[in-house]
Amino acid sequence: MNKSVAVIGGGISGITSALELANSGFRVYLIEREAAIGGQAASFCCKATEICTKCSVCLIPQKLNKVAVHSKISILTDSTVAGLSGKAGYFEVEVLRKPQYIAPERCVACGICARVCPTEPKAIRSPSPDAIPYCYVIDESRCLRLRGEKCNLCRGTCPTNGIDFDREPERKELSVSAIIVATGFEVFNAREMGSLGYSRYPNVLTGLDLERMFNRWGFLRLPSNGKEPRKVAFIQCVGSRDETRGYCSQVCCKYAMRFARLIKYQNPNTEVTIFYIDLQTAGKGFAEFYEECRGNIQFIRGVPVEILETSGELEVRFENILEGKVERETFDLVTLSVGITPRKDSWNLARVLGINLGDHGFFDTKEPFNSIETNVEGIFLAGTCQGPKDIPDSIAHGVAAAEGAMGVLEKCK
């Protein structure tokens, strides 16, 4: 009986579980929905100033390389779990894989196909720089061939003839002993907070946009006119700790303070203000980090309710609790520190696997203190699909899930 584990979700906690199990000698099937593994955290940026702020984003490319190299891990991209049967130790997982028009093992990412593709913007494009497997991606909606027209340009020029348009979606059957669910989270959709004007005003960004901008460019520019912002505001607890979502997302205060310091470091004369309810400064050495931030960053206790655009600048209306009165202040750039919310389609996976959802929409665990086992024996949870966590905790939780799965594997020798 081959001892293998299926890990659903190729984010940071999924690949950590896969690595730990593979290093202990078990086969791992890593099932990832997107075309490349890495999840949300792969697009984050390093927020170090002179010293590292311990956000551990730099661990991700390192672990991705180890997963790509490991002989015991087989990566199934573009695949989702369609069905499950059997019980702990003897699961049969049915995996549905989107047609692989470009075979990942054949594509050497040489870029010739993108040059010849007639569509603008290109229907066949290079993946993000540190994507694993590093292979080109076809966007079905824009590719002429997949829309029925006759166009074979890219298939003709591909030196390793890795492109093949008449591939069908595959259906695969995996027999595994344990399953680890690591499907991750979705960032809170800031559009739901209409009064904060996200996507109405160009200079209102979310934490995720800031991450992507720093990852791509390395510095901050106003989306509206590309100049350097002079006054930046961070608004905390957007989408967490309110009526409908009664939990603290644990990550937003941390990344907001790290960004604030990074912006101050890159351009000392920008004014940065953070609006908060309760600043979460727990974590080793983080209180001292907060003390340092207080030196040159303004902290106002009181979360704004409305942002209006007046003459190119954003006017923020908020209740300054310390002074006890409502104030207005103008900023060039406002960042909404959006929290972590459960994935919209997690109920579908829950139905397939038979595990139930907790009251906030995350997957539920058997008892409160055992954060990895679900009500179905042999299925474990890893990372933010079980509850909000920052990257180091997601990694630690991934290892814990792997250890749980080991228990099942040892039992069914």
């Binding site: 170090a48 590292c52 730099c58 540190d130």
Partner: protein
Amino acid sequence: MNVDNNKIVAFCCANSAYQAADKAGKMRLCYPDNVRIIRVPCAGRVDVVHILKAFEKGAAGVLVMGCQEGACQHLTGNTRAKERLKYAGDLLKEVGIDRERVKMVNLAPDMAQKFICEIEVMMEKIKEA
């Protein structure tokens, strides 16, 4: 200097700077091509002798690129490299080469842009002299 297109030798730590260089290539960001990248396991591996030898062999500038301070896999790799570069800077000043030609750079694997602007900064320094 007997060399016309004055090369830059970059000792890149395999965990962070080498990956940043790869990312710059994958994003097709152009940077001057007189940079020679030598892969080292950690910034702490680069010794003063290597730096002086690089200058001897006609390099115009040396960059030692390691991880961010506090994020080094070997804990003290990048801090030791920084101290060592101060020592190398003194040695070079004694010989008459300007201290700025040797620089410690802290990078993370996703900082492709910073990798390139550090190289351009070194190019300016070389052009000035």
